[in-house]
Symmetry: D2
Subunit: 205 residues, 4 copies
């Protein structure tokens, strides 16, 4: 077999892309001058990389969970709300890996950082004598969550977001926070929050 | 604002997914009972994760480059082929990071592993007195490359493939190799080969 | 060769570790019953993983840089301080990758998030009409920085920290902030800040 | 507080490192001119990065396991050897994540790649009618394993090695293979083999 002039030209067209970056090839690999038979996209795969859509879904899930805890509290009381909060923490945060880098919006002093599961639970539903300042952030009647990302950085098996989260209570009051999340994809392919820094916007003076 | 019975049901439908994995939410977040306003997919993003399609494109590019070097050699001679091979290595491999884990198909003895750029170039085009056994693998008249992946593992910012690569020469001879590649996404967002193990299939006895 | 009873026992001692996790082996591989000759620790290596000591060094470097900009401003004026701030941003942040997730302590409104290099520079040294609220945070006479981490999460090629940073001015005034950083190891093996969320501690009410 | 000339010099010494890479600071942060109080190295940490010593330990563990299976077979028979092989596979490989990229040394044809646990077990101990060519590689009387790495690439939460593994049987026969491994750190902090390509060295002609 020898190549026709046409296919040779095609090859050199491909070659001109080589310098400076990974070779870019024609996507129409099925055309007659093609000399590479593309691999199938049906290969068995393990994929531990995070996609943007997985990040957005995890953010929405966090918002849904906050509203669900608030609504459960209003409808069924503190025990049901606490039980749900525990499920949410166990499902959405990464305390099974060790400390979570969690700085909630309204924590103070030596209890600012909630690196333990107990600290996170106390923040969301209160009632823990070890965290006496906690009134239960998730019990405050939240009914609506809006997420506005300023930027996202996906490193590979972890992804970070920064932006505003606007939450609205059943009384119509609106709270805006600056929020940073980092998600880590676990061995089951689920995203878990391993970093969460929330703060009230600076007011200036 | 108070929630209607309908929207409460919707919330609890969402909540039932909580246990055992990250909360799965309804994708129809725009419906009237929705309480979460999804983040925009237009956020500025840095994405260092590797997708399956990037992996397949990088494999195809390797095949195109092999055929291009062979064809260049036949049409323009060794100097042009060597110049092209250098461009290919610099564009597609990761020697700028340090040693590449490269075990070509036909290398022997103390020169089996080509962890340096010079060793890779010698393997592809020969002519290096430091690698006297090398005859120039990419000069052997290759005209067609077919890639058949057995499996892919994407870790995040790196991805690995294993399978067969079938290469056909201009004389119609077919060579099959077992090939493993690992690609790493660099600071420019390009995939680079940082591991390449190629071997002839075991023949049994 | 047949194994003595002693070496068989040693083997089975090793085997008892197998279940439940990766096999743990005796480190005294050189003893007479050993059957594995350990690989050398002198192997050529590319290492893109981040160590804890690299994280701590990068934090200290950030503190040194803040003090250096402040001191340069006091000694040499705004032009020298701005030139230094540009070097610091280019050396320590990851704007060459794209947007950086940067929420400085004192920014407000639509300019809260400084995802661009220009926004970061304006925050540190002011003087940019596009960021009229910025007075130049790094010009405020800082002389001392103390870093108190609450927790660290190293994902692999990226690492995150959360804790307090206490900065002291030349007048002795002390400012405490809650600070989250995420560092990413670049192609040159250097850590770069790709996320930085700083906030004043919540005051309660 | 004003800085003495001495401490100013120290600052500018630090500053001269700024351009071109992340700022390198003096490690003697406790000296009198220091302006940064280093973070403690006692911070609670989650560390998913892989170290070189973890890689070497995992390689040794693989060698110990191979010898242990062989010795168990000789001493206790096939049932005990098979039971041990299952434990080894479950402890050291990553089949719980999905397909493992495993190309053993002596496999042929359509069964070259052992992406399933059953395929790996058949290769090591034989006796599976679904893999009729397998005679049980780990049953061949192996008593000694030597590992010689050519190069290592640590990406972050995954690490790859390439080199020779020399295995010696109880009859003194020596087999050398070219071997590539990729290890992935799991949610429990253990390294698991997610890629393993082994081949007999090319013989030339």
């Amino acid at each position: 077999m020898t190549l026709s002039k046409t296919s040779i030209s095609a090859l050199f067209a491909a070659v001109t892309f080589v310098s400076g970056s990974l070779i870019v090839v024609q996507t129409s690999v099925a055309d007659s001058s093609s000399t590479v038979i593309a691999p199938s996209s049906k290969t068995p795969i393990v994929n531990r990389a995070i996609t943007e859509s997985e990040v957005l879904a995890a953010q929405i899930a966090w918002g849904e969970a906050l509203v669900a805890i608030s609504t459960t509290y209003d409808m069924k009381g503190i025990d049901a709300a606490k039980a749900l909060a525990e499920k949410v923490i166990d499902a959405a945060y990464g305390y099974q890996f060790g400390p979570v880098l969690f700085n909630p919006t309204l924590t103070v002093g030596a209890q600012t950082f909630r690196t333990t599961r107990a600290g996170a639970l106390a923040y969301f539903v209160g009632g823990d004598p070890a965290f006496p300042m906690d009134k239960g952030f998730a019990l405050k009647g939240w009914r609506k969550v809006e997420i506005k990302n300023a930027a996202i950085f996906i490193s590979g098996n972890t992804a970070s977001t920064m932006g505003n989260v606007i939450i609205t209570g059943k009384d119509g009051n609106v709270t805006i926070v600056d929020k940073t999340w980092q998600f880590f994809k676990d061995d089951n392919g689920k995203l878990r929050i391993i970093l969460h820094h929330s703060s009230l916007p600076y007011k200036g003076k």
